[in-house]
């Protein structure tokens, strides 16, 4: 049987269709896998506003010196801080002002550790790399590149007007996005 010389264009066409089929097969295989790897929709609450589990009078160190731990706000830890001014007002029985309680996303802007409030120094400290923020969440020393994310705080007096003593207000934390 003699070897027939094939027209090169037909051979090239066959080769190209084979290559295209292989490429299409690979695409069909990898596409679902890549989609599968993509994380599914977050299952945490998307709430824009929550009532914190603490009242202002509970914002003080416990017997072991620990500040109340951050609570879950939309899947992220939310740190509440009672400013030194606010603490003074509370001690003298004065009404609190809105700026006396602050709420931050407690995720450090450096490398995602969770920060804590140090009442003695009146600063917010990150244990991972000694990052320091002031009570307004502004980064003052250490590696953090920018301030902590802030949330809006509204103090709401429960019950009838005049019922609640200063420090018994509900702390309503809200975010815009």
């Amino acid at each position: 049987m003699a070897e027939m010389p094939e027209p090169s264009s037909r051979r090239r066409w066959l080769l190209h269709s084979l290559q295209a089929s292989i490429a299409a097969t690979l695409a069909a295989l990898f596409y679902p896998v890549v989609r599968f790897l993509r994380p599914r929709e977050a299952t945490t609450s998307g709430a824009l506003e929550v009532v914190a589990p603490y009242t202002p009078s509970q914002l003080k160190p416990d017997s072991e010196g620990h500040w109340p731990r951050p609570f879950n706000f939309g899947g992220k830890p939310c740190l509440l801080v009672l400013t030194p001014d606010g603490a003074k007002r509370l001690a003298t029985g004065q009404n609190l002002l809105d700026g006396d309680v602050k709420a931050f996303n407690a995720i450090c802007t450096h490398l995602d550790c969770t920060v804590e409030y140090r009442p003695e120094q009146a600063d917010i400290f990150c244990n991972c790399h000694n990052g320091v923020y002031d009570v307004n969440g502004t980064n003052v020393s250490g590696p953090p590149p920018r301030p902590l994310d802030k949330y809006k705080v509204t103090l709401r007096k429960p019950g009838k007007p005049g019922d609640a003593r200063p420090g018994q207000e509900e702390i309503v934390v809200s975010r815009t996005t």
């Binding site: 679902p32 896998v33 599968f36 599914r40 929709e41």
Partner: protein, 349 residues
């Protein structure tokens, strides 16, 4: 090339040839099993990214894979379907190897490692079946491990070992998970390594009848493995991939209802088809034969059959068409018919 020692591999590939005769098609089954195993490894690794092995979360995580994760239904369905096809291909691989009598000297160890691999893959199937933690799986695991408990003398210890306790609990799930994704894969790679090495070392076996007709093994026509046979292999793999995609798309693997340890066993509880012949035998053998519990009898019987299969290269030593071989052929045919009838009966009932 020289740094990686690939020239040795190239020489091996150039040397490997596949004999051409009536039953050349049997040679595709090993490669097919290998391909399906590769699919199991890939889809299994993917599923483990979302699966959570705890009684509180296992069912929910598989449900999330089926409903929330992009293409999760596809990956899981392919994993389940491919597992079943793989077991089927392994059964055929075993049967055709027997028919070709390919376990003859010097390939005894290739046969033994192959039978061991079949046992390992049955264990893969059994352990994987429990992981979605649904009612059927829970019952099947209870029954399956209870049968292990019927083994004389060591049965109770084996049962405790299999279940990690007297009942099927979250510890059983953790144990089966570890077996499925850690222990069995390591064992598989070890045995498979030996199996594949021996296949390369001894080359493809030629059936005695074919060799005689051609006047010697070396006179049997053959084709090079690379690229002739490999390309044919790939056509088979491509077909298998298509079949898997069709099965997964048209018959996505069901999830069932979440297991409830306190609920009554649901009606129609059956194991996977490849265990059905044992299940059906157990159901049909009278409760007591000669004063022995049926489970004990059935377990001992199948253990004996398994032993005969493993030792086949040493039992079948006679001439190609001798009396020993003929007796074995009758038994093998009986075993295949028994398997098919019992499986069909179990499916139908």
């Amino acid at each position: 090339m020289e740094r990686l020692g690939l020239d040795g591999l190239q020489a091996l590939a150039a040397k490997k040839r596949v004999p051409i005769h009536r039953t050349t098609i049997f040679y595709f089954l090993g490669g097919m099993a290998l391909f399906l195993f590769a699919i199991q490894v890939i889809t299994g690794a993917l599923l483990s990214l979302y699966y959570k092995p705890s009684p509180d979360q296992a069912f929910e995580s598989v449900r999330a894979i089926m409903t929330e994760v992009d293409y999760g239904w596809l990956i899981r369905s392919i994993h389940s379907w491919s597992a079943n096809l793989l077991i089927g291909v392994l059964f055929l691989h075993l049967l055709t190897t027997y028919i070709m009598r390919a376990y003859r000297r010097p390939r005894e160890v290739t046969w033994i490692t192959g039978v061991l691999l079949l046992v390992v893959f049955l264990a893969f199937g059994f352990s994987g079946y429990l992981l979605p933690w649904n009612k059927l799986a829970f019952s099947a695991t209870r029954v399956g491990t209870a049968i292990v408990g019927a083994v004389p003398l060591v049965g109770e210890q084996l049962l405790l070992l299999a279940r990690s306790g007297k009942e099927v609990t979250g510890d059983t799930l953790a144990r089966f998970y570890s077996l499925h994704v850690v222990i069995l894969p390591i064992v598989t790679f070890a045995i498979l390594g030996v199996h594949l090495f021996l296949v390369q070392k001894h080359g493809m076996s030629v059936p005695q009848g074919v060799a005689e007709r051609c006047g010697g093994e070396d006179k049997v026509p053959s084709m090079p493995f690379v690229p002739d046979f490999l390309v044919r292999d790939m056509v088979g793999w491509y077909l298998a991939l298509g079949i898997l995609a069709v099965l997964a798309a048209l018959y996505p693997w069901e999830l069932g209802e979440k297991a409830d340890p306190m609920a009554s066993t649901p009606e129609g509880t059956k194991p996977e088809w490849y265990f059905l012949f044992m299940f059906q035998t157990l159901k049909k053998v009278p409760e007591e034969v000669w004063g022995i519990r049926n489970a004990v009898l059935v377990v001992l019987f199948f253990a004996f059959v398994g032993l005969v299969v493993v030792l086949m290269p040493f039992l079948d030593r006679g001439a190609p068409r001798g009396r020993i071989r003929r007796a074995f052929n009758v038994l093998a045919a009986a075993a295949v018919i028994f398997f098919i009838v019992m499986t069909a009966w179990g499916l139908w009932e």
